[in-house]
Symmetry: C2
Subunit: 415 residues, 2 copies
């Protein structure tokens, strides 16, 4: 089984270079929360007037920071974001809530804002009390030395066992004014040695009200992060926050306060594209992966049904291990389609591995050539397309294979 590779084979050759965004500054520190000798604390300082929106884990055991963010989102205003890695502050009871309150109070003082303008996220071990006393004293210093051109540094500070930072940037026009959208995120489901999280932070200088931002991020999460899976295990801490400083208003952009306006078309498309880019980067850093797999389901009754079928494939251990073994085992695709519970016409079902049709009309394709398809399976990036023959809707889900390294990372390590 060999040594676990220290970097995903899909790590980008060059990281995306993110330009500074007016009204956003970062500072990081080595607080020693769990890791030694690496940054594990991030403070983002945001201009007055920054609006904020977010989506969070659906988990019934959501972490203390998630609960605090949900509460503060009601106001829709943000001046600071504090993220720590090494400890998820999840399942930590009263102590967890106190740690969040302490962090928020100190950050508010350091930045000079109200407590409900501070957002927090934590990632790392679950159930271990987070000693906020360890790092809150660092916040005033961080606030002072926060700098705009520090997205990569920020992305690195929130990594746990990610093998590379995930960064993306886009430009968009709002009524002729160019705005920038930058985002970074960490995680891929659950990362050894402990539960980890999908954390994503997006920043833009666009002037957009919080409710409009909320509509956009909620819509695009469905087709991006919610179409990505490593092992199907939903964390307690999943967080995606979008901050809009509004500084583009100084360059003439009129603030957008209506989600239905056509003026947002370009921005909305760029935001979705950026979120998809980050989602794919997360799947490409999935634990122990050797292959990146795209499931394209078409001919379904609805988009939700198509996504449910694609997810059933992407979360099937038996199919994911076959892919790791470069076995074009389309029988397991049939199984996954069937177990999804969504409508599919067994007698019209068709399956392609890359360009090769392996099954159609509910049985093995007459011209199926095992050797050709087996050769296709040796590719690092695979596309498996499925037509379920009952409708016109389609959806795409990104995932990775299930390898010996996944087991090693999660089983052989003893914390």
């Amino acid at each position: 089984m060999g040594k676990i590779s220290s970097v995903s084979p899909f790590a980008p050759v060059a990281l995306a270079r993110l330009p500074a965004i007016e009204g956003v500054a970062f500072a990081t520190a080595e607080a020693g929360i769990r890791y030694k000798g690496r940054p594990d604390l991030l403070l983002a300082v945001l201009d007055k007037g920054t609006s904020v929106a977010g989506v969070f884990t659906q988990s019934k055991t959501a972490s203390a920071p998630v609960l605090a963010c949900r509460k503060n989102l009601k106001k829709g205003k943000a001046r600071a974001l504090v993220v720590n890695s090494g400890n998820a502050n999840a399942f930590t009871g009263k102590k967890g809530r106190e740690a969040v309150e302490m962090t928020i109070a100190h950050a508010a003082e350091a930045v000079g804002c109200k407590p409900n303008e501070v957002f927090v996220a934590s990632t790392g071990v679950i159930g271990e009390p987070l000693d906020a006393g360890k790092f809150v004293r660092l916040l005033p210093g961080l606030a002072k030395r926060a700098e705009p051109d520090a997205f990569e540094k920020a992305a690195r500070a929130i990594m746990t066992t990610d093998t590379y930072p995930k960064l993306a940037t886009r430009k968009a026009l709002i009524e002729g004014t160019e705005v920038t959208i930058n985002g970074f995120c960490k995680g891929a489901g659950m990362i050894a040695p402990d539960m980890a999280t999908m954390l994503c932070f997006i920043f833009t200088d666009a002037a957009i009200s919080a409710d409009v931002l909320q509509a956009l991020v909620a819509e695009h999460t469905e087709t991006t992060f919610n179409c990505m899976t490593v092992d199907g295990d939903t964390s307690t801490s999943d967080t995606c926050l979008v901050f809009a400083t509004g500084d583009a208003a100084r360059r003439g952009q009129k603030s957008i306060t209506n989600a239905k306006t056509n003026k947002l078309k370009d921005f909305s498309a760029a935001l979705e594209d950026l979120m998809r880019d980050l989602a794919i980067q997360v799947a490409k850093d999935g634990e122990g992966l050797s292959k990146f797999v795209t499931f394209e389901v078409e001919g379904a009754k609805s988009w939700r049904a198509a996504r449910a079928i694609a997810r059933a494939c992407a979360n099937s251990p038996i199919l994911k291990t076959a892919i790791a073994g470069e076995d074009p085992n389309w029988g397991r695709v049939v199984m996954a389609v069937g177990k999804s519970g969504e409508a599919a016409d067994r007698d019209k079902l068709a399956i392609w591995f890359g360009p090769h049709c392996v099954a159609r009309d509910g049985e093995r394709a007459p011209d199926y050539n095992e050797k050709t398809v087996a050769a296709y399976m040796k590719n690092r990036e695979l596309v498996i397309r499925i037509n379920v023959g009952v409708g016109k809707a389609s959806a795409t889900v990104w995932t990775c294979d299930l390898t010996h390294d996944y087991v090693s990372i999660n089983a052989d390590y003893r914390s």
Copy 2:
């Protein structure tokens, strides 16, 4: 990672000895469907008047034999059962239906019954046309030499890559008359090299009408087979059939035609107990397992909610790999509870690994001792108990861990 062990560590030291049941006879043959030098064809011949009931996979891509059984069950009468291993006859289109029809026609002729009194099941590779011509010529000979005392032989003929045959027997009283219930089954979700199936066949000499039998098997499937999982992957062929020959009537047992009667209490309990026994035997032969794990969820809103939470734990790759690594990673239990989507009170949640309380009142137990719990994890059989603190319902789910051998069995093998 070592060599994959050829037999599950949980294989019984001695197989259960099943007594003959009046009205039930078996014969097996080596038909060479896929395997060489081992029996792969089973014919069960049943007395006139045998009633039958069954439950099947919920898969939307159910196999051709499953569809035929569903159809024939409407009559509720059985005279023959034909099972082959090596080919699942699933996703085989028109050819699949023809193979089933051919098998049923030949079996009906060999046994001297109507086609709708014949039941069929197939297990093995998916999507490969089943050449029924290969074995139907053997059926007349099998019908002639069928013998009653052959349960173990029958159980062995339907194995695919099971490492041991699963057998169980119980006695029950119906109004003072002793009846016997025998059952055998095969599989554990998906078994390499191809998709396999959970097939279970139960026989009794009790006189019970088909509708009553159907009510019993449907009810008990929920608490037995549907509380067992290896990898969460539902096959296209899952089948559980119960045959009641009614021969106990000759010893004075009055036929039962009312499901609600108290007279069935002992029989119903014995049947459930036998089904649970077989379900646990399947989980204990899970692919590559090193540990057998019981999840007990209590304090839930309903039995269904409790089972959903226990299943979320039992199907979580990240938790199953931690168990394989003997890591008492209860944070992953918290994650699985949260992702189940069922109600749970995070501040009342309590978790036990065996006798050791690791978390209570929504945080790590104050007296938690990592060393003690880590020592417990070295046991081969583990019980993980979870109280979710919102109600009084409880449920139990049986499973196994997710090991390197699971990946090897499913990924390293190329068919």
